[in-house]
């Protein structure tokens, strides 16, 4: 994904960059010439391009929406039986809430166009551009019913409706990441309030810095194709801060330094969730190409699909081999986490690597998970589903790995952006968590935790039958 907002406010020539997703020079050139060639060489008509781009967003958007179900199943499978109904409730509620919050404020904050609340105009080689820090206030507004081509918001891009739909799903994904880490001990309502802030403010503000055309994009040349940092590590940071403030589950870490495993209630649900996420990720990464209306874009989206699969495969196989080597038995939940870490790793740059390199990048993600999960336990940070290793650590790795295959990326830009986003999310979400803790409290009582949140907070067992 790239500076959509930029496309709305700058010269058409510049707008084309928004298409390329990776900022590759050759791409920036190709669609431009394609338009001229249309009659002779058989390029798609201008409106066909627009429709195809829109279609890419709609398909990718529903695939990413499906990831919400994946998180719900994964988390329901990895919590203990007495907390399953609560975990399901949190997942469906956060997805609904994200929709409202992103509509009410998030989308405009993230894509302010040229109406940044805080920002300034700078001079670049290709003309003036905006260095943005804080987007606009307002609700999302779509194109009118049956809009005529001339009246479309940006005929060189896609419909605003499809863009909103697609972007919303990324925002919701960020929220889904948080719920798993904090499971089994956080109260429902403070959690949901945090989600409102995360999806309405924290996520959109930092996402605007990159994808809204803000300063990370224009000043630091930060490259994060589909959001290893902008989405995954943001969710990961918010989860990490929450986990530290919330504390571990009662009985999880023993005085003698050992930890007590609390195996998840259902491996089929956890595996189903992983497969759902794997599927949804094709939309996550593929849709972030933001265009499907040219031969080059079609080939790029195809590369991305193939690379995304290789990343997941690499992560899964790495965890498979490594847990066998280290523990003499394969750990299914690690293989599931490995596949997801592979996916997160390839998310920052799913386009430029070759297939083999994509598998390697994903494989490193799988390795990270296998080592990071017990490491967090040693630090007594209790991450119920492994979201911190998968989304934060592998997200950082993936963001750094961009420099391996994409010459447009600079190690400085990547590191600086990782740090800036990390600090921002850590501080803001830390403030929110602490404020919630001080006011309404965020943790259920020890007795309620023992009984399980299903009984005490939802009044319903997940599998109630005798």
């Amino acid at each position: 994904m790239n500076a959509k907002a930029l496309a709305l406010k700058t010269l058409p020539a510049l707008a084309i960059i928004a298409f390329t997703g990776s900022g590759f020079a050759q791409e920036a050139v190709e669609p431009a010439t394609a338009v001229a060639e249309a009659a002779s060489s058989g390029a798609p008509a201008e409106q066909t391009v627009f429709i195809l781009n829109t279609l890419l967003f709609l398909i990718s958007g529903f695939l990413v929406m499906w990831m919400a179900a994946g998180f719900a199943m994964l988390e329901a499978g990895l919590v203990r039986r007495k907390n399953v109904a609560m975990q399901l409730l949190k997942n469906i509620s956060l997805f609904a809430i994200a929709g409202l919050a992103y509509y009410l404020i998030g989308y405009k904050l993230m894509y302010p166009g040229d109406s940044w609340m805080i920002g300034y105009e700078a001079q670049g080689e290709d003309g003036p551009y905006i260095v943005g820090y804080l987007g606009a206030i307002g609700t999302a507004v779509l194109e009118a019913v049956g809009v005529a081509p001339e009246a479309a918001d940006d005929l060189s891009y896609a419909t605003t409706g499809s863009d909103f739909f697609f972007q919303l799903m990324f925002c919701a994904t960020t929220a889904s990441i948080v719920s798993g880490t904090l499971a089994e001990r956080i109260k429902l309502w403070p959690f949901l309030i945090f989600i409102v802030v995360l999806t309405g403010l924290i996520y959109p503000v930092q996402a605007a810095w990159k994808w809204g055309g803000g300063f990370l994009d224009t000043q630091l040349g930060f490259l994060d194709f589909a959001g290893s940092t902008v989405v995954h590590s943001v969710g990961g940071w918010a989860a990490l801060v929450g986990a530290i403030i919330l504390g571990a589950r009662t009985g999880r870490y023993n005085k003698d330094g050992t930890s007590t495993a609390m195996p998840g209630s259902s491996m089929p649900l956890a595996t189903l969730g992983t497969f759902i996420l794997w599927l949804g990720w094709f939309g996550f990464n593929g849709g972030s190409q933001l265009a499907l209306g040219s031969v080059g874009d079609a080939a790029d989206v195809s590369r991305i699909f193939a690379n995304t699969n290789m990343g997941a495969a690499g992560g899964a196989v790495a965890a498979l081999l490594l847990t066998q080597l280290i523990y003499k038995k394969v750990d299914l939940t690690m293989v599931l986490n490995g596949a997801l870490a592979g996916l997160v790793s390839i998310t920052a740059e799913p386009l430029t690597p070759g297939l083999g390199m994509a598998a390697l990048i994903g494989g490193v993600g799988g390795v990270i998970v296998v080592f990071a999960v017990p490491m967090l336990d040693r630090l007594k940070i209790d991450d119920v589903v492994g979201a911190i290793p998968v989304h934060l650590f592998a997200g950082i790795w993936g963001t750094l790995a961009v420099v391996i295959t994409n010459p447009d990326a600079s190690l400085f830009g990547q590191v600086a952006s990782i740090v800036i986003v990390g600090v921002f999310v850590t501080v803001t979400s830390g403030i929110v968590w602490l404020a919630l803790k001080a006011t309404m409290g965020i943790r259920v009582s020890e007795e309620e935790e023992r009984l399980g949140l299903d009984k005490t907070e939802v009044g319903l067992e997940a599998y109630p039958e005798f």
Partner: protein, 112 residues
């Protein structure tokens, strides 16, 4: 009458059931339980953390028999359930005051 309570390994249920059937023991009640004895539980690794599984799945058989068959039946179960490894289980025998067959209302040994 006696009530025999046998805790056995789940995989020994079929052989025990067959042995009892072959020896004319006509009823049994089975419950899924977990437990430990000298076999102290064992350690597993889950997500890189070693932990102790204290309770091992077992099956509990409850079998009511006439007092004079208790020793024979207990012996039969013990032999059939034995694998020779730890965790083979235990068999308890209790006095049984009375039995009623619900359908007919018969009582005592007739009801078995």
């Amino acid at each position: 009458m006696k009530l025999i309570i046998a805790i056995i390994k789940p995989s020994r249920l079929e052989p025990v059931r067959e042995a009892l059937a072959a020896h004319d023991v006509t009823g049994m009640t089975v419950t899924e339980v977990k437990g430990y004895g000298r076999q102290k539980g064992h350690s597993e690794i889950y997500r890189g953390a070693e932990y102790t599984v204290h309770f091992i799945p077992k099956l509990k058989l409850e079998i009511a028999v006439p007092a004079d068959r208790a020793a024979e039946v207990t012996q039969l179960i013990a032999e059939t359930a034995r694998t020779g490894r730890v965790g083979d289980g235990k068999i308890f025998t209790l006095d049984l005051n009375d039995v009623i067959r619900v359908r007919t209302g018969e009582t005592g040994a007739d009801a078995l």
